[in-house]
């Protein structure tokens, strides 16, 4: 045990060598190609890009391979690389209303302009293990049809036109975009930073918090106004050219929750919004994020703060799985100088207790 802690240079080298061996697995089994991960484990890639805050499918696939499928480790690898990249500006706001739709559903209206488009989804599948997939399964070609009307306006905009839902905050083109990876976070935090924090936050943590709000801890009656997944153009305003130039397109999932209304003596009641956005097809993440975003608006909307999900300092300080895993796992590091100090104090207190109560101190170990 002592050996494991001190004099470990060779031990570390050997451990890493063994890790590389275990990662590769049985060498007679073909090695995973990055393209296989990017294509066939696409949702894992989406999650690693989202929580890793870096849109690069190939690097995310590499991170998943290097991390042996440990998602948080893969996210960590992405983040550590991202942290070293220079920042030369912010893109123009992306227009999700102009999204090239792969999937788009609303649970608030039976039919909507542009239609309900199921797209590739696990929804309505029966969760029966499918032995066919074990080996060599060739699926049918997907069914195709003429593209529907190109315009797929946002569902919340229909409500907005009638004033039934609060207005989205207007664009502020000259306001700097908050970035908690460049400026230290302080509280109270504004919504831009909260959303950034949630976008990077652990899917499981946000899922549990969102779930807790549905079960009554900070309840706010959500409806999934719209969930859409597809490709959007990213544009960058180039100073030299004097206009915005396209950089390419990225896949996004956006969730707009429609929540319980508010109103006052001077304002007519209307629905409120919760917002979620994630890279790739990350519906669970986007929905959870939207629930938590809405709950965190309690302060702004004058709601009583009673639950963890409404407490921005609690949520934002604990949502980052790279931070959380690091600190939990640092307990593996040696702590013996502190422990020795505690041991010394405890022995002293026990001895004083024994003296005061006139009992023999217990022997620490068998003679």
């Amino acid at each position: 045990m002592y050996v494991a802690v001190k004099g470990g240079e060779r031990a570390i080298e050997n451990a890493h060598r063994l890790l590389a061996h275990e990662r590769r697995g049985e060498r007679s089994v073909p090695e995973l190609a990055l393209e296989q991960i990017a294509q066939q484990l696409g949702l894992a890639v989406d999650r690693v890009m989202t929580e890793g805050s870096l849109y690069d499918r190939e690097l995310a696939a590499l991170a998943i391979k290097q991390a042996r499928g440990d998602m948080i480790e893969a996210i960590f690898l992405m983040r550590a690389f991202r942290a070293t990249l220079p920042r030369f500006g912010s893109s123009e706001p992306v227009d999700t209303g102009a999204m090239q739709i792969h999937r788009r559903i609303s649970s608030t209206f039976k039919d909507i302009p542009g239609g309900q488009i199921l797209g590739p989804t696990f929804d309505y599948t029966h969760r029966l293990l499918d032995a066919q997939l074990a080996d060599g399964f060739v699926p049918e070609e997907p069914a195709t049809a003429e593209a529907a009307a190109p315009a797929t306006p946002r569902v919340t905009d229909f409500l907005g036109r009638d004033g039934l839902i609060e207005r989205s905050p207007g664009a502020e083109p000259d306001a700097a975009v908050g970035d908690l990876t460049r400026e230290p976070l302080s509280f109270p935090a504004e919504r831009d930073l909260r959303l950034q924090n949630l976008a990077r936050g652990d899917e499981g943590f946000l899922l549990a918090l969102g779930y807790s709000s549905q079960r009554g801890y900070g309840r706010n009656h959500p409806f999934a106004g719209e969930i859409r997944f597809g490709e959007v153009e990213v544009e960058f305003f180039a100073e030299d050219a004097g206009f915005a130039v396209p950089l390419g397109s990225i896949a996004l999932t956006e969730c707009q929750m429609v929540n319980q209304f508010k109103g006052s003596a001077t304002e007519a009641p209307c629905f409120t919004r919760g917002y979620g956005l994630a890279f790739g097809q990350s519906e669970r993440k986007a929905m959870s994020m939207a629930l938590v975003d809405r709950a965190l608006r309690a302060r702004e909307l004058g709601e009583e703060i009673t639950a963890a999900v409404q407490d921005e300092e609690f949520v934002m300080s604990h949502s980052d799985n790279v931070q959380a895993t690091g600190f939990v796992e640092h307990l593996k590091l040696p702590h013996y100088v502190d422990f020795q100090s505690e041991l010394g104090l405890l022995r002293k207190l026990r001895k004083e207790f024994a003296d005061a109560n006139d009992v023999e101190p217990l022997q620490e170990a068998a003679e």
């Binding site: 001190k6 470990g8 040696p334 505690e342």
Partner: protein, 294 residues
């Protein structure tokens, strides 16, 4: 794929400048926790990312770096961080305290007194000394701003009422320059007096919590106590079994399952240099050595 390229000492120059500004502010306000935009580092949070960022920002090509964890140069995490800088900055490394220009540490202050010109960089897990009394950052920042430290004194008093002693044996709170109460990082309280009036610059980096703070050279650092319960450093009542030192902090090593113990210096450099100078304890070798594998 674009192969990643890394800068000298890993961090890009913009980030280093940002961290240096935070360090300068920290030096200007001793003991005050300066927020900084901590980066993700290639080692986990809680494993020294704050210290590593501070070191990366102050390191120059001519620096000589020493890294210790639990007082020792050859603990796994110390080796890992030393190798990281040897690789990314190509700086010279040493285990000798006196030779180092920068010493990064976790949980200890070297026994060999530091000199003017040296920098001691502490890895800090929880920079806020009031955190376990008040979990909210908004509250604790206000308490520091108002120098409202009554809660800490009440805690120490309650320890005395309950145990007869202040029951804090490491991360023992100090007051810096008569103003800010500061967490010295989880060093055993044995090390607290070394912080006071030190000729070296002491920098503290907390990566996950995004805080940097500092004790400039020759600054007064007082461990909190009461007149009738003065601060007392703790060490095991034994000499080092290897070098016979009577004044160093000791690790307790369990040598068998029958209650056998030996005590050796936690500061391996100090212990080895004493042994080289001819000092001997009751034993002449450590009980465990790394086994050599092929």
């Amino acid at each position: 794929m674009n192969a990643p390229v890394y800068n000298f000492a890993y961090l890009d120059e913009q980030t280093k400048r940002m961290i240096r500004r935070a360090i300068l502010k920290a030096i200007a306000i001793p003991g005050y926790q300066v927020p900084f935009a901590s980066r993700e580092m290639p080692m986990p949070y809680g494993w020294g990312t704050g210290g590593v960022q501070v070191t990366a920002s102050i390191l120059g090509p001519d620096d000589v770096l020493k890294v210790i964890d639990q007082g020792s140069d050859d603990t796994t995490n110390a080796i890992s961080i030393r190798k990281f800088f040897a690789k990314t900055a190509g700086v010279a490394t040493t285990t000798e305290t006196a030779q180092a220009t920068v010493v990064q540490t976790r949980h200890r202050i070297p026994e060999t007194p530091l000199k003017a010109g040296q920098v001691l960089v502490y890895q800090v897990p929880i920079p806020e000394p009031l955190r376990f009394l008040e979990p909210r950052e908004t509250e604790t920042r206000r308490m520091h701003a108002l120098a409202e430290y009554g809660l800490m004194h009440v805690k120490l008093y309650e320890d005395i009422a309950r145990f007869g002693h202040i029951a804090t044996s490491y991360a023992y709170p100090v007051k810096v320059n008569g103003r800010y109460v500061m967490d010295p990082s989880p060093t055993p309280k044995f090390d607290n007096p070394k912080m006071d009036n030190s000729p070296a610059l002491q920098l503290f980096g907390a990566g996950r919590e995004k805080r940097i703070y500092a004790i400039p050279p020759y600054t007064t650092v007082v461990s909190l106590d009461f007149e009738d319960h003065p601060f007392v450093p703790y060490r095991h009542d034994a000499p080092c079994a290897l070098c016979g030192a009577e004044n160093s902090y000791l690790d307790e090593i369990v040598t068998d399952d029958k209650g056998g113990r030996m005590f050796v210096c936690s500061d391996t450099d100090y212990c080895e240099s004493r042994q080289l100078a001819g000092h001997r304890g009751s034993q002449n070798a450590a009980p465990y050595k790394e086994r050599v594998h092929g």
